[in-house]
């Protein structure tokens, strides 16, 4: 059975990148530490092996000298020789385990040469009943030269802090540390990327909270908070409530899609005019609020005239022209002692009155003829839900 391919989105990649990076850092750390430890142990073991061999060489050379001077017996020299012989395979094996040591210097080669030289004396020292002193002397002086060579190599290329061996071990450790550092840098960059993404998302969310998704005007929540804060600051402003006339009828007749187009069209008109002079928010299906920065009715009416002028252009839906009509109720915040609830109730009443009397201009709340008490404000006079004939709304082109 064929399984559907897993589609990994960008989000999934950035989600798994974090744990993978952390894992890589952990591995790189472990690698660095083990490398460092291994190098140190290896260095110790290599040094120890060479020092031991050097000591054995010295001992054997000393015993050869002692034998030539008749101070020791053949047996002791033979034992000393055998002990020296036994050291070589161990030392060479040890050095072959040290990759860095193998890379540099001819130490390993030199070791092999010295071992060959030691082996060459096997017949002379072990097999013959009498060890020829002049032969032994020649062999020992050559061995002494070789021992010096080993010492020299050791002192120049391995032990000092500026030697090739130290440089190579250090560079190996640094190489590992650099990898670790790079991974950590990548991780930090990744965290930065995450932070930027989160900030972007946050600002997008904040924008969405403050705006109405359909019309792009301010949201109900934002508008109400803006009114509250303006009232709190006792900032002079006028509040206007708008309602699109016969919107429900358009919805019923042409469908919701047409209704949406109508609202977008209206929102554009708001944005072009009234938004310049304050804040316009969509607070309900076809209800809008304008927080006007001015509290002078004359100025507000001038600004509103600009809006009405724009509204003369019909909205064209499916090649049909629809003319929009707005009812507006207005009030001045200072008149209500910056009390938002009362102000909102009053302008609502004014707007409904404008609607019922089919007034096209702004209807100010102090013009309300039969003030409806706030207690009854909930039983707003509703527009008769009559179905509008198309002729009321449209003119066919």
């Amino acid at each position: 059975m064929k399984l559907p391919k897993l589609k990994i989105s960008n989000g999934a990649i950035s989600t798994i990148a974090g744990p993978i990076l952390v894992l890589c850092i952990a591995l790189a750390t472990a690698n660095s530490l083990t490398t460092y430890k291994k190098i140190n142990l290896q260095r110790q073991a290599s040094l120890w092996a060479v020092i031991q061999l050097d000591k054995e060489l010295d001992d054997t050379l000393f015993d050869a000298q002692q034998y030539i001077n008749d101070n020791i017996q053949e047996k002791q020299l033979r034992t000393s020789y055998e002990v020296l012989w036994s050291r070589f395979p161990m030392t060479i094996k040890r050095l072959h385990k040290d990759e860095i040591l193998l890379e540099i210097s001819g130490l390993s080669q030199l070791m092999g040469d010295v071992f060959s030289h030691v082996k060459s004396a096997e017949l002379m020292i072990l097999e013959s009943s009498y060890i020829d002193k002049s032969e032994l002397y020649n062999w020992a002086s050559q061995l002494s030269m070789m021992a010096k060579d080993i010492n020299q190599q050791f002192l120049q290329n391995i032990i000092p802090s500026n030697s090739e061996y130290t440089e190579k071990t250090a560079s190996k450790v640094i190489y590992n540390a650099v990898i670790l550092l790079l991974l950590i840098t990548t991780f930090i960059l990744y965290l930065g990327y995450l932070l930027i993404t989160l900030r972007k998302e946050r600002s997008r969310n904040l924008y969405m909270l403050a705006h109405d998704t359909l019309t792009g005007l301010h949201s109900r929540d934002f508008t109400m908070r803006a009114i509250d804060s303006a009232c709190e600051n006792k900032q002079a402003f006028a509040l206007l409530a708008f309602d699109l006339n016969k919107f429900k009828a358009v919805n019923d007749t042409f469908g919701h899609h047409a209704g949406d187009q109508l609202l977008t069209h209206l929102a554009n008109k708001f944005r072009n005019t009234l938004s310049e002079f304050g804040t316009v928010g969509r607070v309900g299906g076809d209800e809008f609020l304008w927080i006007a920065e001015s509290d002078d009715p004359r100025i507000i009416e001038q600004q509103y005239a600009l809006f009405l002028d724009q509204l003369k252009d019909p909205c064209i839906i499916n090649d049909k022209r629809i003319y929009l009509h707005i009812s507006a109720g207005a009030g001045i915040a200072a008149d209500y002692d910056f009390h938002p609830t009362q102000l909102l109730e009053r302008i609502d009443q004014a707007m409904y009155q404008a609607k019922s009397q089919q007034i096209k201009e702004i209807f100010w709340e102090n013009q309300i003829s039969n003030p409806i008490s706030t207690k009854h404000s909930q039983s707003r006079p509703r527009v008769a839900n009559k179905r509008v004939s198309r002729g009321d709304l449209l003119e066919y082109t």
């Binding site: 000591k55 012989w85 540390a177």
Partner: protein
């Protein structure tokens, strides 16, 4: 450049120390504390025993104030005359398990002094270690004369090699006893016996 290296070494060293303490460390520290039974001494402090008999393989001397005042020289024959023990074990110098045989170290020491507590073992090349025998005794170390049925030569870490039946004692941490399993053994000094303390 050197200073940089030093700094890196110090920094890495610190990190290694922290990690060693937390994770890898446990094992490491355990093994070092166990190693107290053995300590390596300078090779120069002991002169080679001279005037050995021609066929002596192992010489044992009790030092002054050890509670015993004897010395013995054991040759091939004397060592083979002691009860022989044989076992197969893995060890650090070979990849495969090998069969070792020879007398118990305890029996070898008993030829000179009984109830030995502390000894110094010296190899042909003057490498020497001090051993707390009272602690090691329970593992029954032997003085191996043969490996895989073949007599040990000097070239094969012989003629005498202290060997422990490591495979029989799983409680011994790996390589923790390596320092004690001295090869090319040639001399034992008895430093302390129980007789002295009692």
């Amino acid at each position: 450049m050197n200073n940089k290296k030093k700094l890196i070494n110090i920094a890495l060293g610190a990190v290694v120390a922290v990690v060693a303490l937390s994770s890898l460390g446990g094992k490491y520290f355990l093994s070092t504390s166990k190693d107290k039974a053995i300590s390596t001494t300078s090779r120069l402090s002991d002169a080679k025993p001279t005037n050995l008999k021609e066929d002596t393989l192992l010489s044992i001397q009790a030092v002054k104030n050890s509670g015993c005042n004897k010395s013995t020289e054991l040759n091939d024959k004397a060592l083979l005359a002691l009860p022989q023990k044989q076992f197969v074990t893995h060890h650090s110098w070979s990849e495969n398990a090998e069969s070792f045989s020879g007398p118990l170290l305890e029996d070898v020491l008993d030829t000179t002094c009984g109830n030995t507590e502390k000894i110094k073992l010296t190899a042909l090349n003057d490498y020497a270690i001090d051993m707390d025998f009272s602690q090691i005794k329970k593992y029954q170390p032997i003085v191996a004369l043969s490996v895989n049925g073949k007599r040990l030569s000097i070239r094969e870490k012989g003629p005498l090699w202290i060997m422990l039946p490591l495979d029989d004692h799983k409680d011994i941490a790996e390589k923790s006893m390596d320092g004690m399993m001295i090869w090319q053994l040639s001399n034992i000094k008895i430093l302390k016996t129980e007789d002295e303390t009692s």
